[in-house]
């Protein structure tokens, strides 16, 4: 039952989202809503070819279009040494192409004009003379000697970017060789795109008189963007003011810095006028960072009674033309080493090779913590294959291999220290909710009637909340996060954080944390994010890190406030501070419960009547560097039936039990889970950014790249177990990404389960109806 924001003791309650009244009334203020006086509009000229040499660019006709102010090419940028920029992964990326284009729709020139229409018209008039070159689309071919070298700028004359490995290869090989049962499965997670409804964009507003650049940008990480911009442009960082207004969905897509941003900034610097650039849908899907594109091979060894002995994984990672992943510096394959999942693998080994191809650069963590979805998909699919090989119920196989509650903190074979979990209890709750035993009986009966019915499990473990700073940084900047709280004289609060929400509900949940710590209500606390001139430095919102990092900072900053408040309370009660205690809502004199003061009274005193010698005011800032990541987990069960006439898969039921530690707001958690499951459903059944042999992108719009609507989306049944994180200040873990991470495997496992009596052990996603129908036809099952 939802409650109002005026509810006392709000932590753990379904407080109605404070941001919703403005968002659902259309009163949000998104990037494209901002119109500045004297503003210009920018459009980009993009390459039709995936791989071509640029022989010349003729801008004369474009400059003749009425309203056009300037045209910028790569050669212009080269004169300023701005034609390349660093990516967050330590590679570099062309801003505007010089010499060669390396992917279709690559940025080649920027046109700026008085209106968007004039800019678009003029962009069409820029004549680029291309000499098409053979495109490299297949990453396996890219690694062969026959493949052309794509990146001529690199010293290494190879399309291989990097090799990364973790674990004990020798011990893993030995354990596999000695295992009586072995499975090997090739598992592909295709290229997908976060596809936020609001595409990326920015307004660069450089004022020549002050030398200050105000940069409005659709950003999940405004402070990081400010620093990157200062590094790229050479502008002093204090003269760059980044404002990330309401963000209409990010899902990882709004973490990187894009070439269009740099062009808009350069043009504003040059012209001294605000320059707006907003992507079209095609520009967003075809050029900004994609996700996944992992070609994985998994091998598991096990005993005959189903105890896993070893896991070996090798992966080819297709990064496109530039390695523009947004992974922490030491983790080129992100946190893929969570691939041992919820299971007790005594030894494991994983390796990943990054490869360049003629595709758009990436890949970002699309609603997942740095390659965790790939890892989770792999292990949950491979466990299904093992269950089939052993002819064992997949729930029983998981039970036999779960890390047990008394083993936490658990040291995984690939180096992580899992904080907490009770995997069996989470699974049991899911199985009870779905009535698993009865379902299996029904499945048997329906199979006898010729129906294709499957039940799929996924019992995943995630890893979220980067820092800690000793391990995690992006471009050298340590991954902590921050909160600054100011309590006003009337007891009302403004709190600013280094994160930037895009629909996660921070304006409510962070208000709940702070209010709870200070004995206030969520309505007393205003949360502000996204303005680098006011908020303390932080690394932003992605990878389910906001609650584990900034959420911790919020609680600890509030506790700092409370420490000072206790001194003031004691002064008001005319007692020694040690004789005053916090009862969860007010300061109370020990042994005299009727003598008490509220936080509002303390706040007023902080500005009017502080104890002698005390600094006035009531403010605190906390930079929270978490001691470890958090490890949320979940147990998902999908029940599907397959139409033998059309290959259409119907999701009959989907039960999701998540464990994200302490729950701040159950309604927000449920909303997050619904959103992530819907995305996971899209990934499993309808989404792939495919390319033809010439490198043409075949799904650059919502006609070809489908997003589930309310019509297709199944009904989600959700529940929770609650195993607090022992090291987080309030015991919370991340949750926003769990459903996207955990659900694709459940859908595929269900479809495989439906088809396994006929010898099917794997179905590649996306499971388009035509693909399923072809499998049905091959196995004589199609009607």
């Amino acid at each position: 039952m939802a409650v109002e924001a005026t509810e006392a003791q709000p932590l753990g309650k379904a407080v109605k989202r404070k941001e919703d009244p403005r968002l659902i009334r259309g009163q949000g203020r998104y990037l494209d809503d901002i119109v500045l006086p004297n503003m210009l509009y920018m459009a980009l000229v993009r390459s039709p070819y995936a791989h071509a040499r640029i022989r010349g660019i003729d801008v004369e006709e474009a400059l003749k279009v009425p309203g056009v102010q300037a045209v910028l090419t790569g050669e212009d940028l080269a004169q300023m040494n701005l034609h390349w920029m660093p990516t967050l992964a330590g590679d570099k990326q062309m801003v505007l192409a010089t010499g060669k284009v390396l992917f279709q729709y690559q940025e080649v020139a920027a046109v700026v004009a008085d209106s968007r229409a004039a800019a678009e018209d003029a962009a069409q008039k820029v004549q680029v003379d291309y000499e098409p070159l053979p495109a490299v689309v297949d990453p396996f071919f890219a690694l062969t000697p026959d493949a052309p070298i794509l990146r001529e700028d690199r010293e290494e004359k190879s399309n291989h970017i990097w090799h990364w490995e973790v674990g004990d290869k020798e011990a893993t090989d030995a354990a596999l060789a000695g295992s009586p049962v072995r499975i090997k499965e090739v598992i592909r997670m295709p290229r997908v795109h976060p596809a936020p409804i609001e595409p990326c964009g920015c307004i660069a507003d450089y004022q020549k008189a002050t030398g200050k650049l105000t940069w409005y940008v659709t950003s999940q990480a405004p402070h990081a963007h400010r620093t990157v911009l200062a590094m790229v442009s050479g502008l002093p960082e204090h003269m760059i003011h980044v404002i990330s207004p309401d963000v209409g969905g990010g899902f990882g897509n709004k973490v990187p810095v894009y070439p269009g941003y740099v062009c808009a900034v350069v043009l504003s610097l040059k012209l001294g006028r605000p320059v707006k650039w907003v992507e079209t849908r095609t520009e967003n899907i075809a050029t900004t960072n994609f996700a996944r594109d992992y070609h994985m091979t998994a091998e598991i060894g096990a005993t005959e009674d189903g105890r896993v002995t070893a896991l070996k994984v090798s992966t080819i990672a297709d990064h496109g033309a530039f390695d523009a992943a947004a992974d922490p510096t030491r983790f080129p394959a992100g946190l893929f080493s969570i691939v041992t999942g919820s299971y007790r693998f005594p030894v494991a080994f994983a390796e990943v090779d990054g490869v360049y191809t003629n595709k758009a650069p990436g890949g970002v963590a699309y609603r997942c913590s740095f390659r965790v979805t790939e890892a989770s998909f792999l292990i949950e699919r491979a466990m299904q294959t093992l269950a089939l090989k052993l002819n064992m119920d997949p729930a029983e196989l998981r039970r036999r291999n779960f890390i047990q509650p008394d083993e936490f903190p658990y040291q995984s074979a690939l180096g992580w220290t899992y904080d907490s979990g009770n995997y069996e209890s989470t699974l049991n709750k899911a199985l009870a909710l779905v009535d698993y035993d009865r379902l299996r009986q029904e499945q048997k009966e329906r199979r006898e009637r010729g129906e294709l019915v499957g039940i799929g499990l996924s019992t995943f473990t995630e890893i979220v909340g980067a820092g800690p700073s000793h391990t995690f940084d992006i471009l050298g900047i340590k991954m902590f996060d921050s909160c600054e709280i100011r309590v006003h004289p009337t007891g009302k609060v403004i709190a600013r954080l280094g994160t930037r929400h895009q629909g996660q509900g921070h304006e409510t949940t962070f208000a709940q944390i702070i209010a709870h710590e200070l004995g206030l209500t969520a309505s007393d606390v205003l949360i502000e994010e996204g303005d680098t001139d006011t908020a303390p430095y932080g690394l932003g919102t992605y990878a389910s890190r906001s609650t584990p990092t900034a959420g911790g900072a919020a609680a600890l900053a509030a506790r700092r406030i409370r420490q000072k408040a206790q001194q003031i309370a004691a002064h008001l009660l005319e007692m020694a501070p040690e004789d005053v205690e916090w009862d969860g809502s007010q300061f109370v004199a020990k042994g005299l419960p009727s003598r008490r003061v509220s936080m509002a009274e303390v706040a007023l005193a902080a500005y009017t009547n502080v104890p002698p010698g005390m600094e006035p005011g009531l403010e605190a800032t906390y930079y929270y560097d978490p001691p470890n990541l958090t490890f949320p987990n979940g147990a998902y069960v999908a029940v599907v039936s397959i139409d033998r006439g059309t290959g259409q898969v119907r999701v009959e039921r989907f039960v999701a039990v998540d464990d994200c530690g302490t729950v701040i707001n159950p309604m927000v958690v449920e909303g997050q889970v619904h959103g992530g499951l819907t995305e996971g459903f899209g990934i499993a059944f309808m989404q792939e950014i495919a390319f033809d042999e010439d490198g043409n992108c075949l799904a650059p719009n919502f006609m070809e790249y489908l997003v589930p609507t309310a019509l297709e989306t199944p009904r989600w049944e959700t529940d929770r177990t609650e195993t607090p994180s022992p090291h987080h200040p309030i015991g919370a873990k991340g949750v926003g990404e769990s459903p996207n991470v955990g659900s694709p495997a459940a859908f595929v496992n269900a479809v495989v389960d439906a088809l396994s009596p006929y010898g099917v052990t794997n179905v590649d996603i996306p499971m388009f109806p035509w693909k399923i129908w072809e499998i049905l036809k091959t196995h004589g099952l199609a009607l």
């Binding site: 039709p48 095609t282 650059p700 719009n701």
Partner: protein, 155 residues
């Protein structure tokens, strides 16, 4: 690049068909939806051609050449160009054989490799293949018609 091919019979002697095929005026006029063209020399022409696939419409600026490879048997037609952010490339070999019948006739066999890039290729999506095939076939159907018309006027 995708490959398309076809053949057709023309009721004209091989010399007449050859003369028609290597004349850039005739080939330019045979481009489907040609808006304007200009012959630049004996083997080259430029043309503005309207193309539409699915929801995308574009006017392409094309540069083309017709090259005699082995008169009067084999010629090469090449078309390249682009517009509205899209690109088109066609490389075609045309082979002429004298017909078998009593009346003078010519059998024309063609193969064409066609590559389309940019929004035309991507937004056209699944419609692309059939549309490119249709348009390519239309080029040769127009050539056939043009030849037939010429044969009727000047038998």
């Amino acid at each position: 690049m995708k490959t398309y091919s076809g053949s057709m019979a023309i009721s004209a002697p091989i010399e007449v068909a050859w003369a028609f095929l290597v004349d850039p005026h005739h080939i330019a006029a045979s481009m489907p939806d040609v808006q304007e063209y200009q012959v630049t020399d004996e083997t080259h022409f430029t043309a503005k051609v309207k193309v539409g696939i699915g929801p995308v419409r574009a006017v392409l600026d094309l540069t083309a050449s017709v090259e005699p490879l082995s008169p009067p048997r084999e010629a090469r037609l090449q078309v390249r160009g682009g517009g509205m952010g899209s690109g088109l490339e066609l490389i075609s070999t045309i082979v002429l054989d004298p017909g078998d019948g009593d009346e003078p006739s010519t059998q024309i066999t063609w193969t064409a490799q066609v590559g389309v890039s940019g929004p035309l290729a991507t937004l056209g999506g699944r419609l692309l293949d059939s549309q490119v095939k249709k348009t390519t076939e239309q080029v040769f159907a127009n050539i056939q018609q043009g030849l037939a018309a010429q044969a009727a006027v000047d038998p």
